[in-house]
């Protein structure tokens, strides 16, 4: 089964979510193993260790609205980044084609 991994801030984590990677404290200590199903007790412990973000599996069949908008935001950022890289460069048809090819590759990499 291939499942989407999401990085979420700890305050959006809820009991029942499954860790897609180990949870690590702000000082780099591994606290919980990959595959752990989170309980309220786990969450309390993660808060105590000032964990910022955790990686969890997205619940199947439940597309997360905020994730969609997060992806849209990353795509927008990436497009700005590529436009900046080509800021003086789109001066002929070859360079315009190069710009489009690079943009397409970079956006595809995020999707």
């Amino acid at each position: 089964m291939s499942r989407i991994i999401q990085k979420i801030p700890l305050d959006r984590a809820t009991p029942g979510m499954v860790l897609a990677e180990e949870a690590v404290s702000s000082s780099g200590i591994a606290l919980l193993r990959h595959g752990t199903t989170l309980t309220e007790k786990h969450l309390a412990s993660l808060r105590l260790h000032e964990v910022g973000e955790i990686g969890v599996f997205a619940a199947p069949g439940e597309p997360d609205a905020s994730t969609d908008s997060e992806i849209r935001a990353s795509l927008e950022t990436e497009k700005n980044h590529v436009e900046r890289l080509f800021r003086h460069a789109r001066i002929n048809t070859t360079m315009e084609a190069l710009y489009r090819a690079v943009l397409e590759f970079r956006l595809e990499r995020i999707r």
């Binding site: 890289l85 080509f86 460069a89 070859t94 190069l98 710009y99 090819a101 595809e108």
Partner: protein
């Protein structure tokens, strides 16, 4: 500030940090008709920093070996002398030149990441054009060295180089144009002179000299490969910097290489899949 003459810079190249003897000797040994593998393995084995790096790279996914190699001798047998020469050269240059402390205003992290990124891109691109392994290894080394003139200028003429960087930042122009304007010579010329001093082959020196302005030619050359590999490295964000500027792609080179844009996109993805090897080389 007075502009520099190329001869002035070339006369100073000897005071750069040395690259390991084994790297220079290997360029010679390789030209012999029957290279002695035992002798080469022994020579490489005297530099443990190089040995460690070479073995780590040889065992990385870039070369896709079925089993691990444990010694330089094994690496030569399994990967071939050419590939090991490339790895020794890359390991020697990155390990020893990077230990150069310095350099106000010259970010070595960014410099080496771009160089190594271009090296991996050049190898991929070369193999895509024809499957000749020797060309691919040459492309890797040339990609690694294509901007070495920047390092030389920043080390030997830091005041001038700082002015060129300031000029670039002020005008947001290509670094090459800033070098012409402020220093009077450019990193491509200096890099080619340095590569010659280090006894790299004439085609490598020429590709370094012309990597921003490939010349006319009937068929695809190493210069074309390096010109496009440099662009690929920028496209892949080697280095990641908000001031980075995409260099201009030569239409001559693009026509000679004969890729279409979809193939180019796939090539970028292939090169991107090996990002972590770039980090390994710089570890």
């Amino acid at each position: 500030m007075n502009k520099l003459e190329l001869e002035t810079v070339v006369a100073q190249l000897g005071s750069l940090p040395a690259i390991p003897d084994v790297v220079i000797e290997l360029q010679d040994i390789f030209r012999q008709e029957t290279p002695d593998i035992e002798q080469i393995a022994h020579k490489i084995g005297q530099d443990q920093v190089i040995v460690a790096k070479v073995l780590r790279l040889a065992n990385s996914s870039f070369y896709g070996l079925q089993c691990k190699v444990a010694s330089i001798h094994d690496a030569i047998v399994v990967l071939g002398l050419r590939t090991v020469r490339t790895l020794v050269t890359a390991a020697g240059i990155t390990a020893h030149l990077r230990s150069n402390p310095l350099l106000d205003g010259f970010d070595q992290g960014i410099f080496w990441l771009h160089s190594v990124g271009a090296a991996f891109c050049a190898r991929r691109l070369s193999l895509r054009i024809d499957s000749n392994l020797e060309s691919a290894e040459n492309a890797f080394i040339t990609g690694l060295l294509h901007d070495i003139g920047r390092y030389a200028l920043a080390t030997l003429f830091p005041a001038q180089y700082r002015c060129a960087i300031a000029y670039r930042d002020r005008h947001d122009c290509q670094p090459l144009d800033a070098e012409h304007e402020v220093i009077g010579i450019d990193h491509a010329q200096v890099g080619a002179a340095l590569a010659q001093r280090w006894k790299f082959t004439p085609d490598i020196c020429k590709a370094i000299a012309l990597h921003h302005c490939p010349d006319d030619s009937q068929k695809t050359t190493l210069t074309d490969v390096i010109h496009l590999a440099d662009i690929m490295a920028h496209a892949l964000d080697f280095p990641s910097s908000k001031d980075d500027l995409m260099p201009l792609l030569s239409e001559k080179t693009w026509r000679r290489i004969g890729l279409d844009w979809q193939e180019f996109g796939r090539l970028l993805a292939e090169a991107d899949a090996h990002r972590h090897e770039a980090d390994q080389l710089l570890d």
